[in-house]
């Protein structure tokens, strides 16, 4: 139920901002004060609409018996024999490992040595070039996104 609210809100918000820009109260026009005012009015419309809708949803739930005692929960998944088997297998392993950690038999130590060439301006520049090379696909994606955003820019 709660998961459903986010797309509902998003959808309503889109509808409201479209309607408002249709009568000339676009969010992307005017100075910052006007835009804040516009944003506030969109928010107030959103809250009113959502409140109204929630009354109807409450009616629908009441009408189908929500609030009665003895509510069960329906699950689309069925717990099969195989699920039980895997669960018991995993649980037994977890229990065994847990006791092992507790008794200290999982202790291990690792001490590696790192060696590298001397850090100089030249070596840093090579590392920098490698970084830029790795970023090439990222930069192309960003460029494409920007292109798409430009053609979609609001009025």
């Amino acid at each position: 139920m709660i998961l459903g609210f986010v797309p509902k809100f998003k959808r309503q918000l889109k509808a409201i901002s479209k309607a408002q820009s249709g009568i000339g109260h676009s969010l992307s026009k005017g100075n910052i004060l006007q835009r804040i005012g516009q944003g506030m009015s969109i928010l107030s419309i959103l809250i009113t609409l959502v409140l109204e809708e929630s009354v109807q949803t409450a009616d629908s739930m009441q009408s189908r018996g929500y609030g009665l005692k003895g509510r069960t929960a329906f699950s689309i998944f069925i717990f099969t024999k195989r699920d039980w088997a895997v669960l018991s297998y995993m649980m037994s392993l977890v229990v065994y490992i847990g006791t092992g950690i507790f008794r200290g038999s999982m202790y291990y130590s690792y001490f590696p040595i790192l060696m590298g060439s001397k850090i100089s301006i030249y070596s840093l520049s090579v590392w920098g070039a490698y970084f830029l090379l790795g970023l090439v696909p990222v930069m192309l994606e960003i460029w494409e996104e920007k292109q798409w955003k430009v053609t979609q820019s609001n009025i």
Binding site: G4, D59, S60, T72
Partner: protein, 548 residues
């Protein structure tokens, strides 16, 4: 056994001035299909809500309601939830969960059935309704018609004996509405469920109803079979007659013109098929003179006020194209109607024309200039009336709403809406708009307390206060009853006569044919045919299904 017996029910809302229900008495038999109709505000929803305790409005109530022999007050909530199903108007708000299978199981979960029982019943209903293919989908991805069917299915899963439906198809497009009503009739035939429904669009339900109840201002005006109801309404010359199906109205008009006396046989056709048969028989009896339809003067090839040149649009980068090389011309002073099925891109093209959305390819020209230049040229203002008028309401009362619109335009030259030569003051302009939209008696009410038709007129008034040259209407007749449709049509004709360009998107072909100069049929992202209404209706055959 009777499903419902209502005895002298009288009801007043807690802050209401007049009685919403006056001495209502009726009996509904098990297995009947009863249609309840009347103008907005006559009390049909109030009456329907009194038939289930948890939905009863707050107020002063007298009289009694009996459900299957027992006083409704004494029937416990569990039995009521199971046996009485209620479908509301808005398909979106009734859905509680995020997955279809969960929605179907919701009612049974609340009633405390076991997993196995729930599984069986859900499977049965899903098969009956044909939901198997979208059983695992998210509810937010469904279309309006599918959502309403899901609501119906999730109620039927509890196996009710009575189904109450409050304007279930008003938010749906005609094809989805047709499917929905067909399913409801099927339920009645196969399960014997008693059906009591409220409707404005009577074309579908009238032929199938066992009884029709017409309400007016809280009391029952007529209660009879569909055919007899038509006859009585015709005899009374009542304004509800306009809400009846087209074939009945045509028959009545012909009857009146030939001045048949009311004692002669009333063989009124109810369905289109009956109407056709009657008309064929009728033609053989009388001589007919061919009327030449008045041809419209060819518009000079002036510059179109709106022109779309091969526009392409999609909502997301990876999504499909919604508009494909759409080209369109609308001339100044013309009323253009875009018709087409659901999801074909009509609302999107309205968004493109009004500047709310921007195409990624192609041009949008207003008076020959693109949007940015047209914005500087202050003569062309666009106003959009959205599908949901509530998205425009920000204040507590209607007159505050209108004031709010005027506030933002105090610097501009205020001129008469219908004649830009005359300069008027703010008060005069607002008076003019209130007169055009007939809002005089609604000014002190909260916008959310108004009926659908009234809310739409308030939203239209707000848009008109922008003083637009071009008015865009998105589904103006959705959920509106016949009386308000006529009022709206009257307002549009007034605006048209003074030269306003109107572009509307609608499913209602009858409305478009009556008020538009040109109709364009939308399909697959483009306009496939465009003609004057008379020619258009002759060319398109399948679209007659869309007549609401």
């Amino acid at each position: 056994m009777e499903s419902y017996t209502v005895e002298h029910l009288t009801f007043t809302y807690s802050n209401g001035q007049r009685r919403s229900l006056e001495d209502i008495s009726l009996k509904i038999k098990q297995g009947e299909i009863v249609v309840l109709c009347g103008q907005s505000g006559c009390g049909k929803t109030t009456l329907l809500r009194h038939l289930k305790t948890c939905l009863q409005p707050v107020g002063v109530c007298e009289g009694a309601v009996y459900f299957e022999g027992k006083l409704l007050q004494e029937v416990d909530k569990r039995t009521q939830s199971e046996k009485i199903g209620f479908v509301l108007q808005n398909p979106e708000t009734q859905i509680v969960t995020d997955k279809v299978w969960h929605e179907l199981a919701f009612g049974l979960e609340s009633l405390g059935y076991s997993q196995l029982e729930i599984r069986t019943r859900v499977a049965e209903m899903a098969t009956f309704f044909g939901i198997q293919s979208w059983f695992h989908k998210k509810t937010s991805e469904l279309s309006g018609g599918q959502k309403q069917l899901l609501n119906l299915a999730s109620i039927m899963v509890m196996q009710p004996t009575v189904l109450l439906l409050d304007e279930p198809t008003s938010q749906l497009d005609p094809i989805a509405a047709h499917d929905f009503i067909e399913t409801v009739i099927k339920l009645n035939r196969e399960f014997g469920t008693t059906i009591l429904l409220t409707e404005h669009r009577l074309e579908e339900v009238f032929p199938k109803a066992d009884r029709v109840i017409i309400m007016e201002e809280g009391h029952i005006l007529i209660e009879d079979t569909p055919l007899q109801t038509g006859k009585k309404l015709y005899a009374l010359e009542h304004k509800m007659f306009k809400a009846l199906p087209e074939p009945m109205r045509i028959y009545a008009r012909v009857n009146r013109q030939l001045q048949h006396n009311s004692n002669s046989q009333w063989l009124c056709p109810i369905t289109v098929r009956e109407g056709r048969n009657w008309l064929e028989a009728f033609i053989k009896e009388y001589q007919f003179q061919e009327l030449i339809a008045p041809t419209q003067l060819e518009k000079q090839s002036a510059l179109p006020i709106i022109e779309l040149k091969e526009t392409w649009f999609r909502y997301e980068k990876e999504a499909e194209d919604v508009l494909k090389a759409l080209s369109l011309k609308v001339y100044s002073g013309e009323t253009y109607a875009l018709v087409g099925g659901n999801g074909t891109g009509k609302t999107t093209s309205l968004g493109i024309m009004s500047g709310v959305l921007k195409p990624y390819k192609g041009k949008v020209l207003i008076n020959g200039k693109n949007f940015k230049q047209a914005a500087k040229d202050t003569h062309i203002v666009l106003g959009v009336l959205p599908q949901d008028p509530k998205t425009l309401f920000v204040k507590q009362t209607v007159d505050l709403e209108l004031e709010e619109m005027l506030k933002l335009y105090k610097k501009k030259d205020m001129h008469d809406l219908l004649n830009s030569e005359i300069i008027m003051t703010k008060e005069e302009i607002s008076e003019q708009v209130i007169a055009i939209c007939e809002l005089q008696h609604l000014l002190q009410q909260h916008p959310y307390d108004l009926s659908g038709g009234e809310q739409q007129r308030v939203a239209l008034a707000k848009v008109l206060l922008l003083q637009p040259q071009i008015l865009f209407l998105d589904e103006p007749t959705k959920g509106i009853d016949a009386y308000y449709k006529e009022k709206l049509g009257h307002i549009l004709s007034q605006l048209k006569s003074k030269g306003m360009t109107i572009v509307m998107v609608s499913h209602d072909l009858a409305f478009c044919a009556a008020y538009a100069d040109k109709c364009g049929m939308f399909f697959d992202g483009n306009i496939v045919s465009e003609a004057e209404p008379r020619k258009f209706c002759r060319q398109t055959f399948i679209l007659l299904l869309l007549i609401a």
